[in-house]
Amino acid sequence: MANPMEQQKAALTNSSLRHEPDGRGHFGGRYGGRFVAETLMPLILELETAYAQAKADPAFQRELDYYLKDYVGRPSPLWLARRMTEKLGGAKIYLKREELNHTGSHKLNNVMGQILLARRMGRTRIVAETGAGQHGVATATVCALFGLKCVVYMGATDVERQKPNVFRMRLLGAEVVPVTAGAGTLKDAMNEAMRDWVANVADTYMLIGTVAGPSPYPAMVRDFQSVIGTEVKAQMHEAEGRLPDVVVAAIGGGSNAMGIFHPFLDDTSVRLIGVEAAGHGLDSGKTAASIERGRPGVLHGNRTYLLQNADGQIEEAHSISAGLDYPGVGPEHAWLNDIGRAEYVGATDTEALEAFQFCTGLEGIIPALESAHAVAYAMKLAPTLPADSLMVVNLSGRGDKDIFTVAEHLGVEL
C-alpha cells in the first residue's frame, strides 16, 4: 500500500469505532464470538458467508430499501416533543418514532433484512424467540408476507402477560410455542429456539431479534437496525443543522440502542446513553441491568455481560417489561461500555410506569414499556441540560400491547 491517500484512508478506517468484529466475531478482542455446539458451527459459518455476500450485493440493498419504504413505512419521523420539553425544562427533546413502523416497533427493520437473507439462502422454515412478542409479531408478519412456515418460542410467563401479541402471531399463521423451562421468559425462549434450530438444520433459519447470539448475528442485526441512527442524523441536520448532543435508548438485548448509536459512534460530541431495566432497583436483586450489575460470561453463543451467580449459573432477570427481561446484552454494547464510548444507566419499573403515563399524557404517544425506560431517563437528564442542547429519545415501540400490564400496576380493572 504505497499510495499515501490509501494509507491515510486505512488509518482512518482503523481508528473508527464503526467496524466489523474481528475474524473470531469478537468486539474489542473479547466480547461476542461463536460459542455454539458443533452441530450449529457449519450453519453459523454458512450464514456468515451468505450475509457477507448479500451485504456486498447492491441488488440485495435495493430489495431491502423497497420493502423498508413501502412495507415497513420508513423513514420514521423525528418528532419534536414540545410539551415534554416545556414541562421538563432543559434540553430540547426529539422522539424518533420507531413505534410508527408496521407492526409497531423497530423490530421489523431487522426482520425484513433477515427474511430476505433467509430467502436467498433457500430456507423455508423460520424459528424465532420473543420476549414482549414484538419480534415474534414482526417475524410472523414477514412469514405471512412471503408464505414461510413460522415457529415462535415464547416464555410461558410472557405468553401470559403479552396476550394481544400472542393472538396477533397466531392470526398471522405462526405457531407460538410457550416455553415452561426456567422462569418462562426470553432467556428460556432463546434456549428453546436454539434447540429447535439444532434439530432442524436442513430447512430452518433462526431469526434472532436482537444484537446478541453467535457471530454474525450481533453485527448483522446492528447493520439492519442502523437505519434508525442514519435517519436521525439526516433528520436532525435538517431540523437543527447540527448533530444531537445526547441520544437515549432502552436496552434489553440492545438492538434499538445499537441501531440508533452506531451511526454516531465516531461523532464523539454525541453522548450515547443506554437505559437498562433496573426492575425493582439496581441493588434489589430483581433487575435486568446486565451491564451495571452483571459480569462477563458466555451465554447463547456470545461472551458478554451477564447476570450470573458466583458459580457461573445464569440468574433470572426481572423487569416489568417483557422485552427487557433478559440477563444478557449484545456484545458490542459490552465493548462500548468498557471503552467508555456509551454510558449505561438504569430506570426502575416504577420510573418506567411514570414515564409511560407522562409521554402518553403530554404527547399523545403511548410508548411501549420498553421504550418508557428511555423516556424515564430522559425525564431525569433533560432538566439538567442547557436549553440549547438537543436530545433524541428512541421511541422503539408503541405501548398498546402493554395497556393490560399498566392497568394492573395502576390498580385498574379492564
Partner: protein
C-alpha cells in the same frame, strides 16, 4: 499412557467397544449421585461421563435439562462436582472420568484453576459443548499443561474440512453426535453410523464414541461395535427420574433401577464385540 487411552486400548485388545454411561452430578442429591458413580464400574461402565449442571443447557433435551435443574436445586457447584470425583477416586483409580458441560461455569471458575483442580481430583477429560475450537484457546494451553484431555464433538453436519480442523484440536477420544438434534430425542440407524464413522476415522486416529439418541441395549451394542464406544445418557436419567418420590427425592428403587439398566447395556455391548470396519 492416560487412563482414557489405556482403557480404549485394553478394550480393543479384548475385541469390544466401551459402554459410557452418564450421570448428572447432584441428581437428585450429592449422596445418591456419588453412590451411583461409585457403583457404575461394577455394573459395567467402562468410562463414566458426569454432567456438570448448568442453568441454560441449550444443546440438551428435556430429560437432561430436568436432571441439571435437580442437580442445581440440590446445590451443585463446579467445586462440588470436582469434590465428587475426588471422593470416587479414593476407591477407583482405573475408570476414566469425563466431565461434560457448558463453558460459562468453567470460565467463571477460571480456566487454569479448573484444569489444575480437575486433574488433581482425578478427572481425565472434559467436554464443553459450547466451546468450539475457534474459541478454545482459553482452555487448550491450561488443559495441556495439566494433562487434561479436551474431547471434541463432531456432528452429521460437520464437513470433511471441518472434521479435520476440529479433530486437530481433539485429544482423548472423539464424541460423535449421531443425530443433528438435541440429546435424548431421535436415534441414528445402524446404516447412518456405518456411513458416518469411517468419515470420522479418516480424520483422526483417536477412538470414536457415539452419543445422542443411544437408548436401548441393542442400540448401545450396535454403536459400540461400529465405533469404539457408546454413550448412554437420557435413557438412564429418565429411569432415575422415574424412581423419585413426589418431592423429587431418591427412593430405595433409585440406585438398583439405574444400575440394572447399566448392567443390561453392558451385557449387550460385551456380547456384540467389534465389527471390523
Amino acid at each position: 499412557m492416560s487412563r482414557i487411552a489405556k482403557r480404549f486400548s485394553d478394550l480393543a485388545a479384548q475385541g469390544r467397544g466401551a459402554l459410557i454411561p452418564y450421570l448428572e452430578a447432584y441428581d437428585p442429591d450429592r449422596e445418591t449421585s456419588l453412590a451411583l458413580l461409585r457403583a457404575m464400574p461394577a455394573a459395567g461402565a467402562d468410562l463414566i461421563e458426569i454432567g456438570m449442571p448448568f442453568s441454560d443447557p441449550s444443546a440438551d433435551g428435556p430429560v437432561i435439562q430436568a436432571a441439571a435443574l435437580r442437580g442445581l436445586k440440590a446445590g451443585a457447584t463446579l467445586a462440588g462436582v470436582l469434590g465428587m470425583v475426588q471422593a470416587f477416586r479414593e476407591g477407583d483409580t482405573q475408570t476414566p472420568v469425563i466431565l461434560m458441560g457448558y463453558v460459562n461455569p468453567v470460565e467463571s471458575y477460571g480456566y487454569e484453576r479448573f484444569c489444575a483442580d480437575a486433574v488433581a481430583a482425578g478427572v481425565d477429560g472434559v467436554i464443553l459443548v459450547d466451546l468450539p475450537p475457534e474459541e478454545a484457546d482459553v482452555m487448550e494451553a491450561p488443559a495441556q499443561a495439566a494433562g487434561l484431555d479436551i474431547i471434541r464433538l463432531v456432528a452429521p453436519t460437520s464437513t470433511v474440512e471441518r472434521l479435520s480442523y476440529v479433530l486437530s484440536h481433539a485429544s482423548g477420544f472423539v464424541y460423535y453426535v449421531s443425530i443433528a438434534g438435541i440429546t435424548g430425542t431421535r436415534t441414528a440407524s445402524a446404516g447412518d453410523l456405518r456411513a458416518a464413522i469411517p468419515r470420522v476415522r479418516a480424520a483422526t486416529t483417536l477412538p470414536v464414541a457415539v452419543g445422542f439418541g443411544v437408548r436401548t441395549p441393542e442400540q448401545a451394542a450396535q454403536a459400540a461395535s461400529i465405533a469404539d464406544g457408546a454413550v448412554v445418557a437420557s435413557a438412564l436419567l429418565q429411569t432415575l427420574a422415574g424412581t423419585l418420590d413426589e418431592q423429587g427425592r431418591a427412593t430405595d428403587r433409585t440406585l438398583p433401577s439405574v444400575l440394572e439398566q447399566i448392567g443390561a447395556l453392558a451385557t449387550a455391548v460385551r456380547a456384540a464385540g467389534r465389527q471390523t470396519a
